[in-house]
C-alpha cells in the first residue's frame, strides 16, 4: 500500500511539474527565478499593501509605470505585487529567466493567466500608444514587439521579454554578403536594403525566442533538468537557480569555432547554484546552495576545513562593533583548488592556453609551498570596531611679516572608522624577514613592539608620521593591522579586557562558521555625523530609513553535505509586532516619500 501511495505522490508531483510553466523555460537559460506569486501575494495582503502611499500612486499611474519599466527593472515587482489586478495567477509560480542565444539575448518574465480579460487589458496598456510596435501571430500565440521589448501571449500564459540582438550575430553572413554583393543604384537603395534585411533578421530572432518559450521542445526545458528539480523541491518565496554547465556552454558558442573548451566545461559540468529567498515573520533570509562536481568536492571539503584562531577574537573590540567580514580556510588546499581551476580554465583558452600552463608550472616549481603555508594559516578577519575621533595631520601655510610663505603641519580631529585586520600567521623566521625588508624599504617604522606604516608617497617628507596613522604588530601568532594605537600598545600582548570583547553570540558565530559577515545597523548610523553622511546624502538617507527597520545582517557559512555546500544571509528586522514584509514595505514607503519630496 505504501508503495502505491508513494507512486501516487510521485505521479502527482510529475503531473504538477507538467502543468507548471517551468516546461516553457529553456533548459539552457543562464539563470532562472521561480517566483511564488501565491506566497508573495498573501504576504502583501497581510502587510496591507493597499494602504501604502507608494502603492496607491502606482495604481493611479499604472499605465505610465508599465510602459516605462523594463522586465529586469521594475516591471516584475509591479506585476507580482498586483497579480490580481493584471489577471496573473496567484496559485502558480511565475518565472523570470535570462537566456543568451547566438541570435538573441533576452530576459523574460513568464506567468500563467488567471483572468484572460484582465491580462488582455494589461497587454493593451503596454502596446497602446507605443511607437513602432510590430504585431504578429505565431503558432498558438500572439505577439508584439518594439526596439526594446517583446510581449507574447495566449489564453494560458503571457511573457514579457527585454531583448538585445548580439552585435556579432550575422557577422559571417556579412562576410558572405560582401563576396556576393548586389549592385545598387544609389547609397539610399543600398542602405534601405540593408535596413530591411536587418529588420527581417531581428524579426526571425524574436520569433525564435517566442517559439522557444511558447512551443518548446519538451526535452529542452528546465523542468527536465534534475538540478533544477532539486532546487524547487523546497518551497520558497523566490528561488534563484543557475546551472553551471548552461552558463559555461555559452563559452563554447564563443570559442567553439577557434578551439576547444572541453577541459573548462568538464569542471563546471556538474556545478550549479540555487538560492531560496524568504520573507519570514522577523527576518528576510537567503539560503545559498552550491553543488560542485565530484572533481571539486574533495578539494572544497579540504579547503573548508579551516577554523578561526581563538587569538583573533582577543583583538576585536565589541563595544561599538560596526561589522566584520572573514574567512577561515585551509590555505594549501585553497591554493591547490584555485590553481587547479585556473589551470583548467586557462589551458582551455584558445591561443595562449599552453603558454599560461607552462608559466604556472614554473611558478609552482619555484614556490616553496612548505614555507608559504607555514606562514599563512588561512584565517583572516576584517572588523570595523567603532567610528570615533582620530588625530589627523594636515599641511597648511603661515606667512611672515613680509608675507613669505612657510609650510607647517597642523593636527585636527576627525571622525573616522576604527578598523582592525587580523590574520593568523606562523613561521616566525619568515615573518621576521618580511618585516625587516619592509623596515629597510622605509614602508614600516619600528616602534616599541609594533610598527608604523608609512605611505610610500610620503617617504621623502620631513615628517613621515603625517596624516592618518596605521600600525602593524605581530603577537600571539596574529598579524594585527589597525589604526587603533591603543590596540598595538596597551593591549597587544594581553588582548582586550573581557568586558570589551565581542558578545557570546558573535563569538559563537565565528566559532561555528568559516565564512562570516556581520553588520550592525544601529552602531553604524548612530555614530555618523551629518558631514560624513553628506558624502552620499541620498544613499545615507535611504540607509537611515533602513536603520529604522533593520537590526542587523549576518552571513553564515559554509556547511557541506555531499557535493552540496551552503551558506545563508539573514537580514534580521527590529523586534516588535510587525512582520518583516511590513518593515520592508515601510522602507519602500519612506524612500518613495523622500523621492516625492
Amino acid at each position: 500500500m505504501k508503495y502505491f501511495l508513494s507512486l501516487c505522490l510521485l505521479g502527482s508531483h510529475i503531473f504538477g511539474l507538467a502543468q507548471d510553466l517551468s516546461n516553457h523555460v529553456p533548459t539552457l537559460s543562464k539563470s532562472v527565478f521561480v517566483i511564488n506569486a501565491a506566497a508573495i501575494h498573501e504576504k502583501c495582503q497581510e502587510a496591507n499593501l493597499e494602504t501604502f502611499d507608494f502603492f496607491k500612486a502606482f495604481r493611479e499611474n499604472t499605465d505610465k509605470y508599465l510602459r516605462g519599466s523594463g522586465v529586469d527593472n521594475a516591471l516584475v515587482p509591479m506585476l507580482v505585487a498586483n497579480s490580481d489586478d493584471f489577471g496573473i495567477s496567484t496559485t502558480d509560480n511565475s518565472y523570470l529567466f535570462m537566456r543568451d542565444r547566438d541570435s538573441i539575448n533576452y530576459t523574460a518574465f513568464l506567468f500563467k493567466v488567471s483572468n484572460e480579460e484582465k491580462a488582455n487589458s494589461l497587454i493593451k496598456t503596454m502596446v497602446r500608444d507605443e511607437d513602432g510596435v510590430e504585431l504578429g501571430i505565431g503558432e498558438g500565440f500572439e505577439f508584439a514587439y518594439n526596439d526594446n521589448m517583446i510581449i507574447g501571449w495566449n489564453s494560458r500564459m503571457v511573457s514579457f521579454f527585454d531583448y538585445r540582438i548580439p552585435s556579432y550575430y550575422g557577422a559571417w553572413d556579412a562576410v558572405e554578403d560582401a563576396a556576393t554583393d548586389e549592385y545598387y543604384e544609389s547609397y539610399e537603395d543600398r542602405y534601405e536594403a540593408i535596413e530591411k534585411e536587418e529588420e527581417e533578421k531581428k524579426a526571425r530572432s524574436i520569433l525564435t525566442a517566442l517559439e522557444e518559450v511558447f512551443n518548446p521542445n519538451p526535452n529542452h526545458t528546465i523542468s527536465g533538468n534534475d538540478h533544477f528539480k532539486e532546487a524547487v523541491m523546497k518551497s520558497s518565496d523566490i528561488i534563484f537557480f543557475a546551472d553551471g554547465f548552461g552558463n559555461m556552454n555559452v563559452m563554447n558558442d564563443v570559442f567553439g569555432t577557434r578551439g576547444t573548451v572541453d577541459g573548462m566545461l568538464s569542471i563546471f559540468a556538474d556545478n550549479y547554484f540555487y538560492c531560496h529567498m524568504n520573507l519570514n515573520d522577523n527576518d528576510i533570509t537567503a539560503a545559498y546552495t552550491y553543488h560542485v562536481s565530484d572533481v571539486f568536492k574533495d578539494m572544497m571539503l579540504a579547503t573548508n576545513n579551516g577554523k578561526f584562531n581563538k587569538n583573533l577574537i582577543k583583538y576585536i573590540d565589541g563595544q561599538d562593533l560596526i561589522g566584520y567580514l572573514g574567512m577561515a580556510v585551509d590555505p594549501e588546499a585553497y591554493y591547490e583548488m584555485v590553481m587547479d581551476i585556473y589551470s583548467k580554465v586557462m589551458s582551455s583558452m584558445p591561443g595562449y592556453g599552453e603558454l599560461v600552463n607552462s608559466g604556472m608550472d614554473i611558478y609552482n616549481i619555484l614556490l616553496d609551498e612548505d614555507e608559504v603555508f607555514d606562514f599563512i594559516k588561512g584565517d583572516a578577519l576584517f572588523a570595523v570596531t567603532n567610528i570615533k575621533p582620530f588625530d589627523v595631520t594636515y599641511t597648511t601655510y603661515e606667512y611672515d611679516d613680509d608675507f613669505n610663505e612657510n609650510e607647517i603641519t597642523k593636527t585636527k580631529q576627525e571622525l573616522l572608522p576604527e578598523y582592525v585586520f587580523l590574520a593568523s600567521i606562523g613561521n616566525e623566521k619568515l615573518s621576521g624577514k618580511i618585516i625587516e625588508l619592509l623596515v629597510k624599504s622605509e614602508l614600516l617604522i619600528q616602534k616599541e613592539g609594533y610598527y608604523l606604516v608609512i605611505d610610500p608617497t610620503s617617504r621623502y617628507r620631513k615628517n613621515k608620521e603625517n596624516g592618518m596613522l596605521h600600525y602593524v604588530a605581530i603577537e600571539n601568532d596574529v598579524l594585527i593591522v589597525t589604526n587603533d594605537v591603543e590596540l598595538v600598545t596597551t593591549y597587544r600582548e594581553s588582548g582586550l579586557p573581557k568586558n570589551r570583547l565581542i558578545s557570546k553570540e558573535r563569538r559563537t558565530h565565528l566559532k561555528k562558521n568559516n565564512y562570516v559577515g556581520y553588520w550592525n545597523s544601529d552602531n553604524t548610523f548612530s555614530k555618523m555625523t551629518a558631514e560624513m553622511k553628506s558624502v552620499g546624502q541620498d544613499f545615507f538617507d535611504i540607509m537611515e530609513e533602513g536603520n529604522a527597520v533593520i537590526d542587523h545582517a549576518s552571513i553564515n557559512g559554509l556547511s557541506s553535505q555531499g557535493n552540496l555546500f551552503s551558506a545563508d544571509l539573514k537580514l534580521k528586522m527590529k523586534e516588535g509586532e510587525k512582520l518583516a514584509i511590513t518593515h520592508l514595505l515601510e522602507l519602500a514607503e519612506s524612500i518613495y516619500k523622500m523621492q516625492v519630496k
Partner: protein
C-alpha cells in the same frame, strides 16, 4: 581674469551643474558642453560638497615693467582623508569621480595649453597627491598676457565664460586687481545649503612688487612690513555674500 575666478566661479558653476545633473543628462548637448570643465574642477567641487575645507592662494610677483611670476595654489590637505575616501569611489551623488590619472592628464593638458600662449613661460604644475596640494606656476611678460592666457584656458567653456574678466592691469606704476561681483542667485536652486559648502574655504591673495606701495584703496588688503607686498584674506562665503571685494588699486613708488 585669474585662476581664482576659474576656481571660484567654476566651483559655483560645477555646484550648479551637480545640482542639475539629472536634467543635464537628459540633454546631450548641454551635457557635452559641461564635460570639458567637469574634468578640471570636479576635484574641487567634490571638496566643496564635503565641507569647504580648502585654501586657494593667488601669489603674484609684479616687476616694474609689468612682467612677473604667478602662482596659484589649491590646498585640499585639510580634507585629505575625505578626498582619499572619495577617490576610491566610482561616483559620488551619482556624479563620476575622476581617477588620479585622469586629473593628471587634464592638468598636463592645461599646462601644455598655457605654455603655448604668447608671453607665458616656465609653466609648472606641481601635484602633491599625499596632501592633495596642487600648484600652477608660470612667468609672464606682462599682466595683460596673463589675462589673455587664463582667458584662453577657459575659452572652450560657455558656462565658465560669464565668470571671466581681466583681473589684472598694470601701467604707470599702478597695479589694479579687478573684481566683478558675480551673480550667484542661480545657485539658490541647489538643494544643499550654499553657505555650508563654502564654510571654511579660504581665499588668500598676495601681490608682491619691486617698489614699495605708496597707497591702495581697499583696506582689506594688509601691507607687509617692507611695504612691498599686500595680502588679502577672506572666506569664500564672505565673497559670495558680497561682504568683501577683491577690487584694489595699488600705487607704487
Amino acid at each position: 581674469m585669474t585662476l581664482y575666478i576659474e576656481c571660484f566661479g567654476i566651483i559655483l558653476a560645477v555646484v550648479k551643474f551637480l545640482s542639475k545633473s539629472k536634467k543635464l543628462k537628459r540633454n546631450p548637448r548641454v551635457y557635452s558642453t559641461c564635460k570639458i570643465f567637469k574634468f578640471y574642477l570636479l576635484f574641487v567641487a567634490m571638496v566643496t560638497m564635503l565641507s569647504g575645507c580648502f585654501d586657494f592662494v593667488e601669489d603674484i610677483k609684479i616687476h616694474d615693467n609689468g612682467s612677473g611670476e604667478a602662482k596659484f595654489k589649491l590646498n585640499l590637505s585639510k580634507s585629505k582623508t575625505k578626498i582619499g575616501g572619495i577617490m576610491l569611489m566610482d561616483s559620488i551623488r551619482g556624479f563620476p569621480v575622476p581617477s588620479k590619472e585622469k586629473i593628471h592628464e587634464k592638468l598636463s593638458e592645461m599646462k601644455s595649453m598655457l605654455s603655448n600662449q604668447p608671453g607665458i613661460s616656465n609653466v609648472e604644475i606641481t601635484e602633491n597627491w599625499s596632501e592633495y596640494i596642487f600648484q600652477l606656476k608660470m612667468n609672464f611678460d606682462h599682466v595683460n598676457k596673463l589675462n589673455v592666457a587664463l582667458k584662453k584656458a577657459l575659452a572652450k567653456e560657455d558656462r565658465a565664460k560669464k565668470y571671466v574678466y581681466d583681473a589684472y592691469s598694470y601701467s604707470n606704476s599702478t597695479f589694479s586687481r579687478n573684481y566683478v561681483a558675480q551673480d550667484y542667485s542661480e545657485f539658490s536652486e541647489w538643494k544643499t545649503d550654499f553657505a555650508t559648502v563654502l564654510e571654511g574655504a579660504k581665499l588668500i591673495l598676495i601681490h608682491r612688487f619691486d617698489q614699495p606701495v605708496v597707497s591702495q584703496d581697499n583696506s582689506k588688503y594688509m601691507l607687509s612690513k617692507n611695504s612691498k607686498s599686500v595680502m588679502f584674506r577672506a572666506s569664500f562665503l564672505d565673497l559670495k555674500e558680497k561682504k568683501v571685494t577683491l577690487q584694489n588699486t595699488i600705487a607704487l613708488k
